[in-house]
Symmetry: D2
Subunit: 500 residues, 4 copies
C-alpha cells in the first residue's frame, strides 16, 4: 500500500520473510484503540471533518467486534498489523476519509505505542498473579511451621529448619519481583505517539491529548528517543527473567524433594505426568517445564539484547524481531506463575519422612558447637574442630547419629582432638548432645529471620500486611486504566452516534 518509491511488489519470499503480521495478533486490539484516540484528536484539532471521523470510528468498531473483517478488507500483502488495519479501514471507508487516519503518524511511533499498551497490561496481570501465588505460599507456610526438615547447602544437610521457612523465602523473593514490575510500570506507561517517523510533524497535533485518552501518564518526549529506544521493554524482559529464575529455584527444590530418595513431597496427580512405557511412573513434568522455560527465557532475553546491540538510532527493521520474543517471555512467565500456584496449592507434605531424616541428621552439629560456646566459653573455631571430631567418630562407626555416641566415644574424641584441658567432660558432651533434639534445634535458633516459630509468625505477619498493601495498589492502577479506556469507548460511541 505504501510503495510510493519502490516499483512493483516485494518478492513473495521476501514478503513472507519480512512480515510480522502473524506475530502481531497480540497487538491488534491496541492498534485499533490507539488509532481511535489518534483520529479523535485529529478531529479535535481540525484535520478530520466530523463525517470523516464517524466513518473511520465506525470501521474501527467493526474491526474490534469482528476480527475476521481484517482478512476480508485488509491488504493481503501487508507487512504488519498497522498496514493491515489501515488498508482495511480505507477499504471500509474511502481513500479520502480512511486515507487521513495516518496523518502525522508513522508505523515507527505506532508500533511503540501498541507495545507499551500491551506491556503495561501484562505488567498489571503479572502483578496480580504474583499476589495470588504469594498468598498461596503464605497459606501453605501457615500449615507447615512445625514441619521439621533438613536445610541444605551444596545439597548436603546444613542445619535443621522447618518447611514453612523455605516457603517464606520464596515469598520474599516474589515480593521483590512485584516491586520491580510495579516500579517499571511508570517507565513503560508513556506515549510515543506524535514522534512520527523519527522527527515529528508540521501538523498541529496534540500529543498530550492522545496520551491522556489512552491512559498514559505522560509523553516519551524526544522524537528520536520515542521511536528508537526499547530500554524499558528490555527491562520488562529482564524483570520477567529474574522472576523465572526465582520460580526455577522453587521448581528445583520441589523436584528434588519429590524423588523417592528424598520423599518429602508428592505432587498432586493433577500436576503429575505418567510414562508411555513405565507403568509405575509419576513424574514432576510441570516443574521440569518451568525449569526448562527458565532456560528458554535466558535465550529469549539474549535474543532481545543481541538484536539491540549494534543498532544505530532511528527505527531499523531488526526491531521487529524483538516483538515475538517479548510476547513469548510475557506469556511463559504468566503461565509459570499460574502453574506454580496450582502445584503449591495441591502438593502433599510428608512430615513424617521429613522428621525421620532430620532426627538422624548431622545437621545439628552447628547447634552443638554453639551450645559449647555458650556453656563452655571456648572459641567458635575450637568448638568447630571438636564437633568435627564428633562427626568423624560417628561416621566411622557406620554413620550413626551423634546422639548414639557413647560416653566412651566422646571421651575418645576429646582425647584425639586435644580438648582435655578445656574443662569439658565426656558427660558434659553427652548431656549437651542429647539436649539438641530436632525440636530444640529449632527452638534454640533465636536470630531474626531464623526457622524459630516466633520468627515464622513474624514473617507471616509482615507478608500478610504486604500483600494487603499490594492488592490495594494494584487495584487502584488497574481501575484507573480501565476507566480511561472505557471513557475512550464512550467518546468513540458518542461521536458515532452524533447525528450532526
Amino acid at each position: 500500500m505504501y510503495r510510493s518509491r519502490p516499483h512493483g511488489n516485494l518478492d513473495d519470499s521476501a514478503l513472507s520473510f519480512l512480515s510480522s503480521v502473524y506475530d502481531d495478533h497480540n497487538l491488534l486490539y491496541y492498534d485499533i484503540i490507539g488509532s481511535q484516540a489518534h483520529v479523535v484528536m485529529l478531529y479535535e484539532v481540525g484535520i478530520l471533518s466530523k463525517n470523516e471521523l464517524k466513518k473511520i470510528l465506525k470501521s474501527t468498531t467493526s474491526l474490534l467486534n469482528e476480527a475476521s473483517l481484517l482478512k476480508e478488507f485488509g491488504n493481503s500483502s501487508s507487512e504488519d498489523i498497522h498496514e493491515l488495519v489501515e488498508s482495511a479501514i480505507i477499504k471500509m471507508t474511502d481513500i479520502e476519509s480512511g486515507g487521513k487516519m495516518h496523518t502525522a503518524r508513522s508505523r515507527n511511533d505506532q508500533v511503540v505505542l501498541d507495545m507499551r499498551m500491551k506491556v503495561r497490561d501484562d505488567i498489571n496481570n503479572i502483578c496480580q498473579n504474583l499476589i495470588i501465588l504469594i498468598s498461596s505460599i503464605i497459606k501453605r507456610a501457615e500449615e507447615n511451621m512445625d514441619s521439621i526438615m533438613p536445610m541444605y547447602t551444596h545439597l548436603q544437610h546444613a542445619q535443621l529448619g522447618v518447611f514453612s521457612h523455605y516457603l517464606l523465602s520464596y515469598a520474599y523473593s516474589l515480593i521483590r519481583d512485584f516491586d520491580r514490575f510495579y516500579e517499571l510500570y511508570d517507565r513503560v506507561n508513556c506515549s510515543p505517539l506524535g514522534a512520527c517517523a523519527i522527527g515529528g510533524s508540521s501538523i498541529n497535533i496534540d500529543r498530550e491529548r492522545v496520551s491522556s485518552m489512552l491512559g498514559f501518564s505522560g509523553l516519551i518526549y524526544n522524537s528520536i528517543d520515542a521511536t528508537s529506544s526499547r530500554d524499558s521493554l528490555i527491562e520488562f524482559a529482564s524483570n520477567s527473567l529474574i522472576c523465572m529464575l526465582n520460580l526455577c529455584r522453587v521448581s528445583e527444590d520441589l523436584i528434588l524433594w519429590s524423588t523417592s530418595e528424598f520423599g518429602f513431597l508428592s505432587l498432586d496427580d493433577r500436576f503429575s505426568s505418567s510414562s508411555s512405557v513405565m507403568p509405575q511412573k509419576k513424574n514432576p513434568d510441570p516443574l521440569e517445564i518451568i525449569r526448562g522455560k527458565t532456560g528458554l527465557a535466558n535465550g529469549i532475553f539474549q535474543s532481545i539484547s543481541s538484536i539491540m546491540k549494534g543498532l544505530p538510532s532511528g527505527y531499523s527493521r531488526d526491531l521487529q524481531e524483538i516483538k515475538p520474543s517479548l510476547w513469548k517471555m510475557s506469556s511463559l512467565l504468566q503461565d509459570s506463575l499460574l502453574i506454580t500456584d496450582g502445584i503449591i496449592k495441591t502438593f502433599n507434605v510428608n512430615k513424617k519422612r521429613m522428621y525421620e531424616i532430620s532426627s538422624e541428621s548431622y545437621a545439628i552439629s552447628l547447634d552443638i558447637a554453639e551450645q559449647l560456646i555458650k556453656k563452655k566459653n571456648i572459641s567458635f573455631r575450637s568448638s568447630h574442630k571438636l564437633v568435627g571430631g564428633l562427626v568423624d567418630c560417628a561416621v566411622k562407626k557406620g554413620n550413626i547419629s551423634l546422639n548414639k555416641l557413647s560416653i566412651d566415644d566422646l571421651s575418645q574424641v576429646l582425647t584425639n582432638t586435644d580438648f582435655l584441658n578445656y574443662g569439658i567432660t565426656p558427660n558434659d558432651l553427652y548431656v549437651l548432645i542429647k539436649d539438641v533434639t530436632p525440636e530444640n534445634s529449632i527452638n534454640y535458633r533465636i536470630t531474626k529471620g531464623s526457622p524459630n516459630k516466633q520468627e515464622q509468625l513474624e514473617m507471616l505477619l509482615f507478608l500478610n500486611r504486604k500483600i494487603d498493601e499490594y492488592q490495594k495498589k494494584c487495584k487502584l492502577r488497574i481501575d484507573s486504566l480501565r476507566d480511561k479506556i472505557s471513557e475512550l469507548g464512550f467518546t468513540v460511541e458518542k461521536h458515532i452516534d452524533d447525528p450532526s
Copy 2:
C-alpha cells in the same frame, strides 16, 4: 492414555502448559515412518502377527495421507505427537493390535529418532541452499572483477580493492559452513530406537534392522546416551548460528553500501521496503531482518544450551523445550539463505560511484609506502612515517587527494618528517604518487589472495571446482536416503497388500 499410576486427568492448565503437540507438527511425518519401521521389525521378530501388522500399517498410511484423521481419532488430551499418533492408531485398529505398536519403545527414544530424522533432512536442505547461494555469489563476482572500490577496516578506507574480492570472501566463509554441516551429518544420522525409556528392553527386538530401514548409518549404542544426549543437535544449532553470523556480515556490508552516503549498491525493488509515511523511502528491510534474525539466533542457541545446563542423565521434560528452538533455528537459517540469494542475484552495482570514491581516497597510502620501500630501500617503519606526513599535509590542505599535492608540498613534507637524507627528491615522490592510480594499486598487489585480477581468477577457479565437488557429494547422500525411505514405503505397501 498412559496414566496408569496418577489418578484422574492432568489439570487443564497443566496439560496446556505441558503439551508440545503444537510444536511437534514438524515431527508428524517422521513419527509415522519411524513407527512403520518399528512395527515391520516387530513383525519380523515375531511380536506382531501378520494381521496386526497390516492393521497398524494401514492406519499409519491413512494418517500420512490425511493428517486431519489425527484430530478425529487422536486423544485430545495427548501431551505430545507420539501419544497422539499412537492413540489414533489404537482407535483406528483396536487395543490388542494398535496396543502392541509401542512394544519395546518409549517416547524417550522415539522423540530422539524423530528429531534426528528431521535434522538430517534439514542438513541436506541447508547444504543445497549453500551451494545455490555460493553459485550466485560466484556469478556476481565474475561480473565485478574490475569494480574498484575502497576496502574498509574500522569502516575507514584501508586499501583499494575490487567488489568481487568482497563477494569471494563471502563464498569462502560459506564453504566452511558447508563443511561443518556436511561433517555433522554422520554424527546425527544414528538411530537411538531400541534404547527404550533409558535401559533397553527384554524383548528380542532388532535395533539394527530398524536403523537400516530408516536410512541410518548406525546406532547410537548406549541406551542412556541414546535418550539423554543432545550434543549433536546442539552442534546443529551452533553450525546454524555460525552460518547466520556469516550471513549477517554480508548484510551489514550491503546495508552500509546501500546508504545514500556510500551509494555503491542499490537493492532491487523486489527486496526493498517502503515507508508508511515518508514517500521517498526505499529501505533495505530484508537485510535488516537477516541481521535481526542473527541476534534472534544468538538467543535461540542460548535457550538450548541454557536448558541443557544442569540436567542429570535420563530424559527430563525440560528437553521438550529445545525442540521448538531447534526448528526455529533451522527455518530461519534456510529462509535467510534463500533471501540472501535473492538479494545477491538482483542488486545493482554502481561502479561509477565506487570508482569516484576510490580515486579520491587515501587508501593508496600503503601502496605508496610499499613503492618507496621497493624503489628507495628504506625500512617499512620509515616509509610508514613519511607517507603519514603526506596524508597529514593533504588533510590540512582541505582533504585533497594525494595526487593533488604539489612539488612544493612534497618538499615541505620531506623536510618536516626529516627525510632529506634518504635520497628521495620531491620529484621522485611526485612521480611515484602519480603512478599509483586506482588501477595500478590493484595491479601492483601481487600476493596470493589479493584483489589482483589474476588472483580473482584463481579463486573463481578454486570455488567453481569446489562447488562441483559439493554438488556431487550432496546428491549422493540425498539420493541414498531417498532410496531407503522409498524402500520402506514399498515394504509397507507390500505388507498391506499381502493377501495372506
Copy 3:
C-alpha cells in the same frame, strides 16, 4: 583451615580450580569492615571480651592499611577471601581471640554482605558518572541546535533534523538508566548478616545493630532468602547491560558519522587510533571497543543468569562463579561511561558537511506531503502518493534534488499520478517545494519533542533541571553512607584506644 570432616588437604589442582581468592580482591575492603562491625556487635552482646575485641580490631586495621600482611599471615591454601582474612587474623591474634570472630557467621552470609556493600558503592559511582556524561551531552547539544542534518531510519534519510536532537535523545535514555540504578539501590542496600549458613544461629546476636553500623537501610530478613537469593545483583547486571546498550547506540551513530562517506564528525586525536601498516588511518577504536564490550556484556549477563538457572535453595558453590562476572560488568560500564564522556566532549562537528547533505536530501518529502495536506486539503494517503511520484521523477533524472524539478516535470508527475482533479497546479507544487528549505523543514516541525528550536530549548530546560535534582539526590545518599562508615571507623578506633 575449616577441614573438620574431610581428611587431609584438597588436591592441589582442585584447590586452584576452586579458589576465588584472585577474583575476590575487590571484596577485601568490604570483608574487613564487615568483620569489624560483626565483632563490635559480638562484643556488645557479650560474646567477645573487651580484650579479644581489641586484638581483633587491631589486626583488621593493620590489614586495611597493609594488604601485604594477608600474604604473610593468611593461610596459603585458603579457598576464598573470607578464609584468608580470618586465618590471618587468627595468626595475628590467637586462636581463642581470632577464633571467635566467625561466631554466628558463615561465609554464606558474609559473601553476600561483601557483594552488597561493593555493589551499592558501584551504583553510587555509576549514578555520578551518568550525571557527568549527561551534563557533557547537554553542553554539546546547546552548541548544536542549528546543526541541520538528516535523520535516519533504516540508515536511509528519513526527515531533516538537528544534531542536538540526537544528543538529547541520548540524554533522555541515560536519565532512565539513572532512574533504574537509583531505584535498585534500596533493594541492594539490605544486610544479610546473621543468616549464618542458611538457618540463623542460637547465639543472641543483633542483626539490626550490624546492619545499621554498616549503613544498610534494613535486613534481608529470611535466612534462606538472605543466603540463596541473588536477584537484586542480577538486576544490577541487567541495569548495567541496558545502559551499555544505550551507549552502544551512541557509539554506532558516531562510528557511522565518522566515516569519510558520512563525514559529519571527526573524533579528537586523543580518542583515535592509528594503523600499524596504513599511514593514513585514524580509526574510532574507543567507540568500537564500547560496541564490543556491549557484546561482552551480553555474554556476562548470560553467564550470571545461566549459572543461576537450575540451582536449588541454599548456597551452592556455583554462586562463586557469578562474582567475577559482576565485577567485570560493573567496571566495563564505568569505563565506558568515562570514555564516552571524553569522546563527546572532544569530537569536532562538521556542520558544513551536515548541511550540504541535508540540502540535497529527499528527507524533506514528508514535509512537502504535509504542506500539501495543510494547503490543499487532500488526504495523507493521497499526498504520500503524489510526493512519491515527485521523488520517483527526481531519481530518474539522475537523483537531482526535489527543488531542481522544473514546472514541466511537476506537471508530468501530476498527470502520471492522476492528481489533475485535485486542484493542485504545477506552479502550486513548485512554490511549495521551493519553500521547504532545510531551515523551514525544521521551523515548520511544531510537535512536542521535534527538532524545532523551541522544542530543543524546552528539552534542555527539562534536562538541566533533572540533572540538578539528581545531583542533590546522589550527594545525599553518598554522604549518608560515608558518614556511617566513618562512624564505624571511629567506633573501631575508640575501642582500640580504650585503655580499659
Copy 4:
C-alpha cells in the same frame, strides 16, 4: 609508535580502555615465532639483508628466553602485544633493521595468525585430556559392571541398571567431543599471514613458505576472509561449550548421588570441601564449580557471538574483545577435564546402598510388563495398564515392594483392572513377579546397548579400541607440529650463527 596521522598520544584513559596487552600474554610466544618465520621469508625473498635478519632474529630469541626484556625495551604505550614486540625489537636493533620486520604485514593478519597457532595447540591438549578422562571412565566402568542401581528419568526410578552403564554413556559422549575437536583442527590450521591489513601487498612475499615453516596445512586464501573471519574460532568455542555441557551432566549426576538421601557415591576427601561454620560438612564443591563454569561457558560463548553480530567486513576493534573470552573458554574446559578425571578416579562407590534401593524399587515394572507380553501374549498397552494396577495397589499398601504383594492382592488387582478374561491367574502373576529380581531384571534386558553384562563388555571392547586409535591419531599430529616448530628453531639458530 604507529601514530602517523593522529597527532599526540591517546588519552590515558582511552589507552587503558583500548589496550589488550594484559590479555595478550597468551599470545606472546606465538607472536614471536610467527615473526621469526615472517622475517626468515622476508630475507629469502630479498627484503631483508642477511645482517638485518640476524639482528632481528637475535632479539626475538632474547625475548623468547627473557620476557622481562619486553618491559625494558617495549613502548609502554603499546596498545597490544604486536606493537609491544615490534617496538622492543626496533629498540634492541635499530629503526632501519627492526623497522623492516613489519613489511607486508599488519596487525590484522598477525593477530589471526597468533590466535590460530594458540588454538591449534589448545585443540591438541584438549584431545589428549579427553583421551585420559575417557580411559579413567573405562577403568571405573570395568569395576562396576555388577553395581546394580536404579536408572532415572525425571529423577524418578525408571528401570534398573548398572553403574558402569552410566559411566559408559559419559564415555560415548566424550568420544563425540573428541571427534568434533579433531575435525576442527584442519579448519583452524591455516595461515592468514600475508593478507596484510585487508587487501594483500605489492611486496613479493611468499605466503606459502611462511605457512609451511609454521606447520600450517595451507592458507586461508582470500585476504578479506583471512582478516575478517572468526568462524572457526567460534566453532572452537562452541565445541568447548558442548563438551562442558557433557561434563556438566556428569557433575549433576554425581552431585545428586553424593547426597545423603541417595548415598550412592562419596567423593574422595581430596575433592571435597568443608564449611567455615558447619563441622559435619563434606561438600562436592569441585562438581558444583564445573556446573557453574558451564553456566559461565554459556555466557562466554554468547559474548563471542554477540560481539560478532552486526560487524561489517574488515578488522574492527570489537574483535579484540573476543580474545580473552576464547582463552577463558579454553582454560576452563582444560581445567574441568582434569578435575573430572581426578574425581572419577577417586570416588568411592557404595554398591550396597545402590542394591538396597534397587531391590525395593518399582523400576522393575516395565520388566514385569514385558514378561507378561512374552508369556501371556497380551498387548503392551494392556500389560502397561495391568502393571500400573499392581503398582497402585502396592503404593496404597504403604509403598511396599511389588514382590511383597500377596496372592489376594494380585487377585484383587486382576479384578479391578478387568483382566479376568486374559488367562492370567493370580498365581501366574505371583511367580512372574518373584522371578524379576534385580539380577534378572538386568539379565533379561537383551537389546543392544542395554545394561546387560554382555553389552557392557561389548561397549568396553569398542571404547578401548577407539581410545587406542585416537591416541595414535593424536600423537601423529602433535609430533608433526612439534617437528615443524623445531625445524624453524634450527633455521633461526642457523641464521644467527651464520658467520657470513
